[in-house]
Point group: C2
Chain length 360, copies 2
């Protein structure tokens, strides 16, 4: 059975080895005679899955011991409010605004205090990542927040923003987590919806400094306090067991391929191949500034909107799916997360060349 090359921005392509293992586990997890969906979350079989997921997060990202690794529900959209609800408390937080998701995070934060926009790429249609020269930090903000990769626009930070010493750094890493090594110690809290680089939708990974968890507000519903998840190994209530299972299998796959350095090399090779074609193509060109090019979401355009639509149809007919750009920006977007094989990008480049030969 031929599978389609899936360039969907998320939920997104998963490694075939993971899908094959998940198929078997749906019927019988680890020889237990019971499928992974059907196991009690308190039973030893699922507890082993949960322990493996946490251990692999810690190992792959070299998470320091003074950080908790939590599995929540509700996606990044729930983190947009949980972070300020727990840690803002009427004070000021600094936000770097580099796209729609940062803007949504800002909206939710304003309910709980003052937002200082430290920098914004809005005036340029979010086609670049602001540098230190155009960034101003407030005095002693409760935290500083940024979005490490911008799925819609196709931009990505190459490192962390240079926050002043002592300011807790919070990152929405939903669309590039574990695509390259990450220095967790530079962060107070990292969150990521799983459905791009880590697994299916419905599970959110949170890596958070224990010191920050302890400072969170206490007059909140039990399920909205990070400490509830930290104190109960993410098992205060029934966690999304299948999502955690798939996440653990994806992490195992990353580990088997050589961990985050290997992912970085793999992703760089794919992105380089695609951006090189954009730099040479007579028809297609990249949308964002060269120094802000995302290795996860490559945005590009033909010479007009009709040509964009024609190319998406042309690519679909060749078994390349999910290439239409976000409806708010148009054009094309190739999402090439960890699990996308180099072969998929090669097939895309061939399609671009064939289309260009026919239309140039």
């Amino acid at each position: 059975m031929t599978r389609t090359w899936n360039f969907s921005p998320g939920p997104a392509v998963l490694p075939e080895a993971v899908l094959r293992r998940a198929q078997a586990a749906l019927w019988d997890l680890d020889g237990s005679g019971i499928g992974v969906l059907e196991h009690s979350h308190r039973g030893k079989e699922f507890m082993a899955v949960l322990a493996r997921a946490e251990a692999l997060v810690r190992q792959l990202a070299a998470v320091p011991d003074d950080y908790d690794v939590l599995f929540l529900q509700g996606g990044a959209s729930s983190q947009f409010f949980m972070v300020p609800m727990n840690f803002l408390g009427g004070a000021t937080a600094d936000y770097c605004v580099t796209g729609v998701w940062s803007e949504k995070a800002v909206e939710e934060a304003r309910r709980f205090g003052t937002v200082h926009v430290a920098c914004s790429s809005a005036a340029a249609g979010h086609t670049y990542i602001p540098g230190a020269a155009e960034t101003t930090w407030s005095t002693a903000p409760a935290y500083a927040h940024f979005t490490s990769n911008n799925t819609i626009y196709g931009t990505q930070w190459t490192g962390e923003p240079a926050v002043p010493a002592g300011v807790p750094l919070v990152c929405d890493a939903s669309s590039d987590i574990f695509s390259r090594p990450i220095d967790v110690a530079r962060y107070a809290l990292i969150y990521a919806g799983a459905q791009k680089n880590l697994g299916p939708s419905g599970v959110t990974l949170v890596i958070v400094k224990k010191e920050l968890v302890a400072k969170g507000a206490r007059d909140l519903p039990t399920m909205l306090q990070y400490r509830t998840f930290a104190a109960n190994q993410s098992m205060y209530n029934t966690p999304p067991t299948f999502g955690i299972y798939v996440l653990a299998e994806v992490l195992r796959w990353i580990d088997e391929l050589g961990g985050l350095p290997a992912m970085a090399a793999r992703n760089r090779a794919k992105a380089d191949l695609l951006y090189a074609e954009l730099d040479r193509s007579p028809v297609f060109k990249g949308v964002v500034r060269a120094d802000a090019r995302s290795q996860m979401n490559v945005t590009f355009r033909g010479r007009n909107a009709a040509e964009d639509a024609a190319f998406v149809a042309f690519a679909t007919a060749r078994g390349l799916s999910g290439l239409a750009g976000h409806r708010s920006v148009g054009g094309m977007r190739a999402s090439i997360y960890n699990a996308m094989e180099l072969g998929g990008v090669q097939a895309l480049v061939e399609a671009m060349q064939a289309f260009a030969a026919a239309h140039a």
Copy 2:
């Protein structure tokens, strides 16, 4: 491959036909060449899954048109606070307390107003369902809340509590939803974590009167307002796509078997078989009052704790899993949700008889 008879209280057994379809869909959903975990939630393939899930909920429960059918995350534990956060606003709500989950719902509600305990079975160890004679309603409460089935204790309401006219009735139906016909029009809001009768953990079904949704508080984070989900067909952010897929397949299976009346007959047959054995056994007896016996979770005991432990081990050796009672109450509990086959209950009864013959 022999599967174990799985009496887990949740996550719990699922129909084998559903598991087989899910295995195929993990690799390729509906001939799309892309697996169900990997499809964009905005694509036509997942939109068809979501539409099918909603249509089946509406059809099976004859949901009136003035109700929304929503798919949320966070389990019943998140509904414990979302209901009062949206609808209490400093007023009084009435709660029927029939177990641990009702008690947790009360705890969260107290953050947002006054809780009047309309009735409680706590003094009798939650071994029965309070009747109208021992229930007192407050004057014009914001809503009245009850838990239709009590997983830990093994009790179940046979119908709705007799709330005064005009009081919005809210039900946590997590552990018996769609196990029998339900008259939705009698409720303002019904919520249920999926992981007992409907599918995997990580998706929560909410059936709510549109009129109530409109009355919800507005000064809340976007993700904590029911109207966000109602206005966006549960797609404001990325929903738990796989959970919704499995739920749709479970509903299809219920429909194919004859809908909720057929489920009721099936569940009654299983429960009758097991309770009859408890009424006749020289060793085992039921824990709760006869008129409160749950058709979902059958709690029972041997003559002492050592015998209980011996029976659980005996049953496990015969391929019957998950029969230990909740750690807070001990004894045994057989969870026999929709998907448990009559054959599983027959195997359990045979094990009880064999154990009794050896130990009576």
